[in-house]
């Protein structure tokens, strides 16, 4: 079973010496990641790992650095310390990183942004967005082919969005758009789905539906899911592990072991109570 990995001052060499006690061939592994932005340390010494088919939530208050962490994993931000390993191979620096992404990790990680940048009139259907997930980065027009159409249909069906495949994506509700975005990431058959605050701006019912979709993808399709959220409660039923980010540091492990009054107090640096009521978890700041 996974141990709770607290933050600690580790150096690269000590990590290299340590044999990971986790499942073999972690899909994603962060070791001692630190990030400085604008001369300040935003994140310090974040470490966790993720195996195949596992569902992990990056939870924390707004401004804690969740999105920053995701952008590090995507290679969009360079960490000031530590390293990221995808499928055992390190994520290189900018120029190399682009090549790596293009060859290997592109299929490895599917990114689902929080929302689309469009207005309702945009001539773009749900199926067009998903189709872009297949080859949006390639030049040229992309003539329709039966094979492509089949792949798009399959991806849409996997997320339950096939009912509005031909609708203008700008007219869809928040939950429907989220599904389309997931299908878009899914179509390139990634090993890991990375979602940036997918549940923000969703009503309760859409929230539950999206969580169910993601849970199904993790279980039945063995796709690892890593998402960020500021509230862990909708995810309690599907999350295998939590990475709790606060105060620029993180603690990772099974939810029950990480989310404790003692544990979070140490993380936040001031007194915090964890209250469990009717199966829901509340993190309450002390005085």
């Amino acid at each position: 079973m996974q141990e709770v990995q607290k933050t600690a001052t580790v150096t690269d060499s000590s990590l290299a010496a340590e044999k990971p006690r986790t499942a073999p061939a972690d899909l994603l592994r962060l070791e001692g990641i630190g990030v400085r932005l604008g001369g300040r340390s935003v994140l310090g010494d974040v470490s966790f790992s993720l195996g195949k088919g596992e569902f992990t939530g990056i939870i924390g208050p707004n401004g804690a650095g969740k999105t920053t962490l995701l952008r590090v994993i995507l290679g969009l931000i360079e960490p000031s310390g530590g390293r990221v390993l995808v499928d055992g191979a390190p994520l290189h620096r900018k120029t190399l990183h682009r090549k790596t992404l293009r060859n290997k990790n592109k299929a490895a990680i599917g990114y689902v942004p929080q929302k689309l940048v469009i207005d309702p009139d945009m001539p773009l259907r749900a199926r067009d967005v998903v189709s872009l997930g297949l080859d949006g980065h390639r030049l040229g027009f992309g003539f329709p082919s039966r094979q492509r159409r089949a792949l798009v249909e399959a991806a849409l069906a996997d997320v339950g969005a096939d009912g509005y495949a031909d609708a203008r994506v700008g007219e869809l509700s928040g939950g429907e758009q989220q599904r389309v975005l997931i299908a878009h990431a899914l179509i390139s058959r990634p090993k890991l789905l990375l979602l940036d605050e997918p549940l923000a701006n969703l009503d309760l019912r859409s929230e539950q539906e999206i969580v169910a979709v993601l849970g199904k993808l993790a279980r039945e399709h063995e796709i690892s899911v890593l998402l960020s959220a500021h509230d862990m409660n909708p995810l309690l039923g599907v999350m295998d592990r939590i990475v709790y980010v606060a105060n620029g540091h993180a603690a990772s492990g099974p939810t029950d072991e990480v989310v404790t009054s003692a544990g979070l107090t140490e993380l936040y640096g001031h007194h915090v109570d964890v209250v469990r009521v009717h199966g829901r978890v509340l993190v309450v700041a002390g005085e």
């Binding site: 990114y111 001539p123 067009d128 027009f141 339950g160 969005a161």
Partner: protein, 272 residues
């Protein structure tokens, strides 16, 4: 007269294609600003006595690159870009005013550069317009998918190594080249009318990207042909008809959308 029809048709095709993306990317203002750069260039070139083409292309490109360089990314992107675009636009117009005033050919030159002079198109001018039209079409066709991706899903594009900044610049340059040749024909102030109206109308009618682009071209062609015919009859300026007919098509598109049924609520697939 045939030259007029040919030149105007090519202009309409270019306008339809670039306009489709300008509207998609919310770059209506930029589409208005860049042709003004061309205006300044044409005025400057005629002042210096060199071939107008050079002035057009050089200034349009400078305007586009200036907007691209000073523009912003990320949060507050649109508003800052608007400010930069506005300033670039007026600077270009100001320069144009200067050049025109110095060359003391006030009336006709200002008027024709700003509002178009399609009936004066000569044989020699058709070929460059055709060449540029083909180039613009190819440039857009080649980058169709990355342009769509960076317009709708900029973060995903970045994550996949498609640089939004580079695509922004690419599109600005294409717009500059495309509009620079069409300005003498339709006029700086009205080129953008031909870009925006038909594209806005087209996207109201269809949700399919490819079809919307094709429809933009068709509507632009219709606008231009109608305008030429009417202008020829009444002797009124071409730009007037382009502006009015473009607006009419836009309103028709809006009406069609309001009347057409909203998306059919089909039975949803099971979540599982």
């Amino acid at each position: 007269m045939l030259n007029t029809w040919i030149a105007a048709s090519i202009v309409a095709v270019i306008a339809g294609i670039t306009g489709f993306f300008a509207v998609l990317r919310g770059q209506t203002f930029t589409a208005h600003a860049i042709p003004n750069g061309a205006f300044a260039g044409a005025a400057g070139a005629s002042l210096l006595g060199i071939n107008v083409i050079w002035g057009l292309v050089v200034f349009a490109l400078c305007g586009a690159l200036g907007i691209g360089a000073l523009g912003a990314e990320g949060r507050g992107r649109k508003a800052r870009n608007d400010v930069v675009t506005a300033l670039a636009l007026v600077l270009m117009l100001g320069l144009g005013a200067l050049f025109v005033s110095i060359s003391s050919q006030y009336a006709e030159e200002t008027y024709s550069l700003l509002f178009g002079e399609v009936f004066g198109v000569s044989r020699g001018e058709v070929l460059p317009i055709l060449g540029l039209g083909v180039a613009a079409a190819v440039a857009i066709g080649v980058a169709f998918r990355p342009l769509m991706l960076t317009s709708a899903l900029p973060e995903v594009a970045e994550a996949r190594g498609v640089s939004t900044r580079r695509m922004d610049l690419y599109f600005l340059i294409v717009m500059a080249l495309a509009t620079s040749m069409t300005v003498p024909v339709v006029g700086a102030l009205l080129m953008f009318s031909l870009m925006i109206g038909p594209a806005a109308a087209a996207r109201s009618v269809t949700a399919r990207p490819g079809a919307a682009m094709a429809l933009s071209v068709v509507i632009a062609l219709a606008t231009v042909w109608l305008s030429i015919a009417l202008s020829y009859q009444t002797n009124w300026p071409l730009g007037f008809f382009v502006g009015i007919i473009g607006a009419a098509f836009y309103l028709i598109g809006l009406a069609a959308r309001a009347v057409a049924p909203r998306r059919a609520v089909a039975p949803r697939g099971a979540v599982g």
